[in-house]
């Protein structure tokens, strides 16, 4: 009998191309997703060396970071952004890489379309020049973000040199209360372990809460693993996973599906497998979460208040909190509820899928956006956009006074013109509240789509549970 293995170890093992003592592992990559921002220098590197893309059939490209969302017209973004998108088109054409261009019905945020198209599958190794690649781990894949040099390595060899990361089981137990979502769970986890709590580790999320989440909730959870510093986050595949994948465009079909399924069922961690580290989180009394500071670990229940630096003993942590509150313009001890806001952003690879839009629409239905508040709803993909329109969600958003956009990263990273003005406050369903992330001088509160919708109708940070009848 083989030594008991974790999900991560099984996938790692299968992808070892070469391993010599004292050298990093040569690890095979099954799926390489690329986008316009982190790939141009990698293609330039290939050209300089006269190399080809080794496996264009395992490479998929889409422009998402700086694409326009008002319409698909490139004249809507600045010249540099347009040039970068055209460069991606040229690179894909020159190297024979499949590209979902601006006219494609299947385009969208790279981490939304991978799963939608069935490209993302259990047991795979998946990389992308983007730290939120961990999203795909929701399917029981080993998926992580890489830099542009590594994008070039994968383009050229379909492999990466990797040191084996450590494993950490994140066991989440308890039934989520009404109005509490996967986003609140991940914000609570990061608040508990901090933004470097997962550095050096791959997380495997387990426990009753995780099993009960649908695939979209699982993607939200895995997506923000990097915000705790973890290299990747993954969840053992189960029937929920297989039901989601069945019939998707690039999922195996017929007999191949049956063979794949039999294989995928062997992936979950063996009962006796051991991890390097364990973290436990009980979410049975969890409330909706919101951040108050300038990193995703600075989060509290929405009914909580801004921490007081005077009560923090560690001098570095105190200095960091003072710096954050200064940037955010918040007072120590101030309750978060009632804090006025200017903008609400609903979208991103964290919370731009159909269930996220349904949740936001549920809170906005028959209500109006508060006067003076700008609400941007950006679906995660064109497919999500069509589905939302078929369900009439776009009408709910528009009748409430929100802007209904084309898909893309939009105000999560503020590269396409969708951005906060200096000093503005936003409640955002995205993943990062770093200084200036949503526009220079902009101030971000991270929250779930429900909490974001509640902020839209009240004009301030609000408890969404009061809007649910």
């Amino acid at each position: 009998m083989n030594r008991p293995q974790t999900l991560f170890e099984k996938i790692w093992q299968r992808h070892i191309v070469a391993q010599e003592a004292g050298f990093p592992t040569v690890l095979y990559i099954d799926l390489h997703l690329i986008h316009e921002v982190t790939s141009p220098q990698a293609f330039a590197g290939l050209r300089a060396r006269g190399l080809r893309v080794r496996r264009p059939d395992k490479t998929v490209a889409v422009a998402d970071h700086s694409t326009p969302t008002l319409d698909k017209d490139l004249r809507l973004v600045d010249d540099l952004a347009a040039q970068q998108i055209r460069q991606l088109e040229k690179n894909c054409q020159d190297f024979g890489v499949r590209l979902y261009n601006l006219d494609s019905q299947q385009r969208g945020i790279v981490h939304v379309i991978g799963p939608e198209l069935g490209l993302t599958q259990p047991g795979m190794t998946i990389v992308c020049g983007d730290s939120h690649t961990a999203t795909h781990g929701a399917f029981g894949a080993l998926a992580f973000g890489v830099g542009t040099s590594e994008v070039e390595h994968v383009l050229a060899t379909q492999c990466l040199l990797q040191h084996k990361p450590k494993t950490c089981e994140v066991r989440i137990e308890g039934q989520l209360a009404r109005g509490v979502t996967a986003k609140d769970v991940i914000l609570a986890l990061i608040a508990q372990i901090g933004v470097s709590g997962g550095t050096g580790y791959v997380f495997e999320y387990s426990g009753s809460t995780v099993r009960a989440l649908d695939m979209e909730g699982r993607m939200t959870l895995c997506n923000m693993s990097i915000e705790a510093g973890a290299r990747a986050g993954m969840i053992a595949p189960d029937d929920t996973t297989f039901e989601y994948l069945a019939g998707r465009l690039y999922a195996p079909q017929g007999e191949e599906w049956e063979r794949a399924l039999a294989d995928w069922r062997t992936l979950p961690s063996d009962e006796a497998a051991s991890y390097d580290q364990h973290v436990a989180l009980d979410v049975s009394h969890l409330e909706p979460m919101i951040t108050y500071g300038t990193n995703p670990g600075m989060g509290v229940p929405v009914t909580g208040s801004v921490p007081d630096p005077q009560q923090i003993t560690d001098p570095n942590a105190r200095a960091a909190l003072i710096k954050s509150l200064n940037y955010m313009g918040l007072q120590p001890g101030q309750p978060l509820l009632g804090q006025p806001i200017d903008v609400v952003f609903i979208g991103s690879c964290t919370n731009g899928r159909i269930s996220d839009l349904r949740a936001a629409a549920q809170a906005l239905k028959g209500r109006k956006v508060a006067p003076g508040v700008r609400v941007l709803v950006t679906p995660g993909s064109e497919s999500v956009r069509r589905q939302a329109e078929a369900e009439g969600l776009d009408r709910i958003f528009k009748e409430a006074g929100a802007e209904w956009r084309w898909s893309g990263c939009s105000m999560c990273i503020a590269m396409n013109g969708d951005q906060l003005q200096p000093g503005q406050y936003a409640v955002s369903t995205s993943n990062r509240n770093f200084e200036g992330r949503q526009g220079k001088g902009g101030r971000t509160f991270l929250a779930s789509p429900l909490t974001a919708a509640a902020a839209a109708v009240t004009g301030c940070i609000a408890d969404a549970r009061r809007l649910l009848v």
Partner: protein
Amino acid sequence: MNAFRSLTSKAILLPVDNVDTDQIIPARFLKTTHKEGLGKQLFADWRYQPDGSPKPDFPLNDVRFEGAQILVAGDNFGCGSSREHAPWALLDFGFRAVISTRFADIFRNNCLKNGLLPVEIDPQTHSELMGELRAAPDAPMTIDLERQQIALPNGKMATFPIDTFSKNRLLKGMDELDYLLSFEAQIAAHEAARPVHDR
């Protein structure tokens, strides 16, 4: 990639924890299709006033540190986005090494691929180093990669970890892709051995 053996230089102190790559190089500067020229925009939002003039109290704008090749930062440096533009910007500004008590995983990888040395030291040595630099801001210090050692301005020595492969590569200025390309036969064999639906 330039080789890295040892370096003696003044150091710039940036005593902030959890510096994310959005601060190192804000996203609006990622629309370039080149690696060069990002040094001007390094720490742009901390370094410049809204009118574009340098903020006098930001350490990178202090003339005493001109030519410094070492950045001493707080814990968990380089967290957040995977953008390799962060080490490109640090290198383009003139840095060859960053000292911290911890580096974010992707940032560390990106540094090592570009010849920017991430030097991880224990919190006690780090705090001593910060004290030294506060007392004598332009005192030079030395980083010796061969010995995996740093010499504080007061002469005290401390060691730092680095994996053997990255160390040898940096010492020789050798690119990782050349090494990876030498595995072509093994890669092809691996592909051939995969189940058909997986190839």
